[in-house]
Amino acid sequence: MSPLHFTFTAMFTLSLLGLTFYRTHLLSALLCLESIMLSLFLAFSLCALKFDSSAFSVAPMILLTFSACEASIGLALLVATVRTHGTDQLQNFNVLQC
């Protein structure tokens, strides 16, 4: 495992662990998702560098576009959930459990 591979793998793993175990606010979950997307952006950019292919350098841009869409949808859901629940605490999402 090269140092670069280790870097983005560790970044992804830490963000995923944060998303999984830190379950207090919806906003922090969205931040962890964004950090996951940034680690993937790093991985894609390094891939383009590693393979020396300029054709592949479009891929990080596509990834960044989709991650921006995803973040905006997450923020819209955050606003909507504050309007319906009055808070963004994840422990309030318990209507559907039984």
């Binding site: 591979h5 983005f8 793998t9 992804f12 995923l16 998303l19 919806l26 979950a29 998702l33 996951i36 997307m37 680690s39 993937l40 991985a43 894609f44 891939c47 590693k50 393979f51 891929a59 596509i62 990834l63 989709f66 869409c69 995803e70 949808i73 997450g74 859901l77 909507a80 959930t81 309007r83 319906t84 629940h85 999402f93 209507v95 559907l96 459990q97 039984c98």
Partner: protein
């Protein structure tokens, strides 16, 4: 929601699945999955209620996490082997990670807890899309990747069948029961995936037909729990007579269509020398059969006057079109005599 917006969303929903189905590069497949997720989220959140919002948020977080895991596994694979093609993945660790990510996306058993809850928060038409059309893109990816370790797939499949039956035992809400039934059926498909992929397609098709007829029946009756299903005979007597048969077909009883995939899958598993797995899976299907039978009992065998916990509704002539429902119910009841041609169609 304005009709133009609805048209745009539904076209994007179809487009995402089609992009994934026709892609060979992991990035394009991921883009299709993300488009699919983005397009169904406004459909899920169109009622501004806490239940719908909660379902939407759970679905959003689960689907994006699964999609990022998929992309991470594919970029690791490309880093290790320089290969972006879906069908030519070689490294075992990214393959296992991708299988787990797709299982999370589909709602297979150790990662299944979100599916019944999300389904419970939606109305029946969006739930129908969620449990049929949204399964196609992850399933196509699972079918295209090279065979991963057989232990992983068999474990996922068997635990899905078991947990789908077990979780549904305690439920009185119809949407949750349908969610657990979906988990159990997906388990059957995963179990046979590495030995006979055409059988997986066959089981998926039969499952889509059966579950669509069930969802449309409940949509027509506006029944969300067992009690309101039990009094649906005052509204639609013919449909109430057919509902237990469709439920038994979903449980896989012999003269009905639902028996066909279970029959073929058990036969193929026995041929592969996996008789204990086949026997245990068939026994776990009995758990699912129990709650289908309870629904059938409440629908057809309990006749008032007894102490009904709900007031009887008026018999109103419904104006909704039922052609699609009629075709689906006919298919879900009487396709078994056609089984040689169905098998030939899927194995060609």
């Amino acid at each position: 929601m304005s009709p133009y917006m609805l048209i745009i969303l539904i076209f994007t929903l179809g487009l995402g699945t089609l992009i994934t189905l026709s892609s060979s590069h992991w990035l394009i497949a991921w883009m299709g999955l993300e488009l699919n997720t983005f397009a169904i989220l406004p459909l899920m959140a169109q009622q501004h209620s806490p239940r719908a919002m909660e379902a939407t948020i759970k679905y959003f977080i689960i689907q994006t996490t699964a999609a990022t895991m998929l992309l991470f596994a594919s970029v690791s694979n490309a880093w290790l082997s320089g290969q972006w093609e879906i069908q030519q993945m070689s490294h075992p660790t990214p393959l296992a990670l991708i299988t787990i990510a797709l299982a999370l996306k589909l709602g297979l058993a150790p990662m299944h807890a979100w599916f019944p809850e999300v389904l419970q928060g939606l109305n029946f038409s969006t739930g129908l899309i969620l449990s049929t059309w949204q399964k196609l893109a992850p399933f196509s990816l699972l079918l295209q990747i090279p065979p991963t370790s057989s232990f992983l797939l068999i474990t996922l499949g068997f635990i899905s069948v078991l947990m789908g039956g077990w979780g549904g035992l305690n439920q009185t809400q119809l949407r949750k029961i349908l969610g657990y039934s979906s988990i159990a059926h997906l388990g059957w498909m995963i179990l046979i995936m590495q030995y006979a992929p055409p059988l997986t397609l066959l089981a998926l098709t039969v499952y889509i037909v059966l579950t669509s007829s069930m969802f449309l029946t409940f949509l027509y009756n506006q029944a969300t729990n067992i009690n309101s299903l039990a009094i649906s005979w005052t509204k639609t007597p013919m449909l109430t007579a057919l509902t237990p048969l469709v439920l038994l077909s979903l449980g896989g009883l012999p003269p009905l269509t639902g028996f066909l995939p279970k029959w073929a899958i058990l036969q193929e598993l026995t041929k592969q020398g996996l008789t204990p797995v086949a026997a245990l899976t068939a026994l776990s299907a009995l758990l699912s059969l129990y709650f289908y039978l309870r629904l059938s009992y409440a629908t057809a065998l309990t006749t008032p006057p007894n102490n009904l916990p709900a007031t009887l509704p008026w018999r109103i002539i419904f104006k909704q079109p039922t052609t699609f429902l009629a075709v689906l119910i006919t298919m879900s009841l009487s396709l078994l005599p056609l089984s040689p041609s169905v098998m030939a169609f899927f194995t060609f």
